[in-house]
Subunit: 209 residues, 2 copies
């Protein structure tokens, strides 16, 4: 299965909207530039498609036409190698059974591929170094990833449970791929998937005090 954004070709539709030609790749880029600035300045929650469209000199419908939903626009603007909503839908489709291993397998694999991991590590680096970037990542991660998992699984205390998972996934990214702790670098992916999968499963479906 592929988690790559599936809208890559939608921008070639060629319909005429707003003040510029939709086929103009400069317009698509202008929207992404405006989106990056808006997310950085206002955070994920308060940035609006309308505001981003105005900044790029197009109408909001063209932003959706080129870049999909707000979370898809964010993923593109940050050059994330995936469509977060599609990933979460796929990972949670099987319900709570085995969800820990599926999430662990996805992230261990994703982070082990330098090309895919690069933009994610870059976003964590920015967030750790800069409060505006931290707010942006916090709001995106909470609104899209954590609440997405919590709502789709329908578990009580779902946001806390998904946040516990989130903290372990961030810790995996930093410890294995930034600090490069030797035992984690040397460990096989399957060993890590088993260990982290068990922990994530318990965070999501085990007892909470």
């Amino acid at each position: 299965m592929s988690y790559a954004p599936d809208m890559a070709t939608r921008a070639d539709g060629g319909r005429q909207r707003g003040g510029r030609r939709p086929g103009d790749s400069g317009t698509r880029e202008a929207i992404l530039t405006a989106a990056r600035a808006a997310f950085a300045e206002h955070g994920y929650d308060r940035a609006t498609i309308r505001g981003i469209a105005a900044e790029a000199g197009v109408d909001a419908a063209l932003v959706h036409h080129f870049h999909g939903t707000k979370q898809q626009l964010f993923a593109r603007a940050m050059q994330l190698p995936l469509d977060p909503d599609a990933v979460i839908t796929e990972l949670t489709a099987g319900g709570p059974d085995g969800i820990g291993e599926r999430i662990a397998r996805f992230f261990v694999g994703l982070l082990s591929d330098p090309e895919l991991a690069g933009p994610i590590i870059a976003m964590i680096r920015s967030a750790v170094g800069n409060p505006d970037a931290a707010r942006m990542l916090r709001e995106f991660y909470t609104a899209v990833v954590i609440r997405g998992i919590a709502v789709r699984l329908g578990l009580p205390d779902g946001e806390l449970r998904a946040s516990l998972c989130g903290s372990q996934i961030i810790g995996l990214a930093v410890a294995r791929h930034v600090l490069e702790l030797p035992a984690l670098v040397a460990a096989g992916d399957e060993a890590l998937i088993a260990a982290y999968g068990d922990a994530l499963q318990r965070y999501l479906t085990g007892p909470l005090p």
Copy 2:
């Protein structure tokens, strides 16, 4: 119990060694400055007490007299609010039973105290932003914390097990105290200690593939 470095008063012994007066706080500071530079340039493993002493213009015995072991010198140079070896000795003293909760309780509490957490968060920030700082933290964390826990507990695969714990502790620090994920900020310390304690216990003593 207190994890503060217990050598704070040792520097007042007033014995005459090397080329400078031991009571000279300028000498103590010069050693710490030389230590910070050496750890940053050479990493934790390859920095030597002898080299640090030479850089500070004193003999190695005076470095030990003022600042204890290499790991204690590192903790002081980085302004860590604890003596890592003393902490690990205390946490592992009760053996494997309940070790997960003891480690979780220690780190959740430490990180919740802004004054104590500040230098630790600062070290993580530096490491995420800078490869030399990453190497320094990796080597210190591996040599002192991870191997310290692994050796004292005497568990098979101890370094991998302690590194899995390390990744969750780093993830807790980043997710709750840097990104400030709302559900983790809102959660009570006891709830987090229970959830993380269970995961850390399984990383240390549960089955590994």
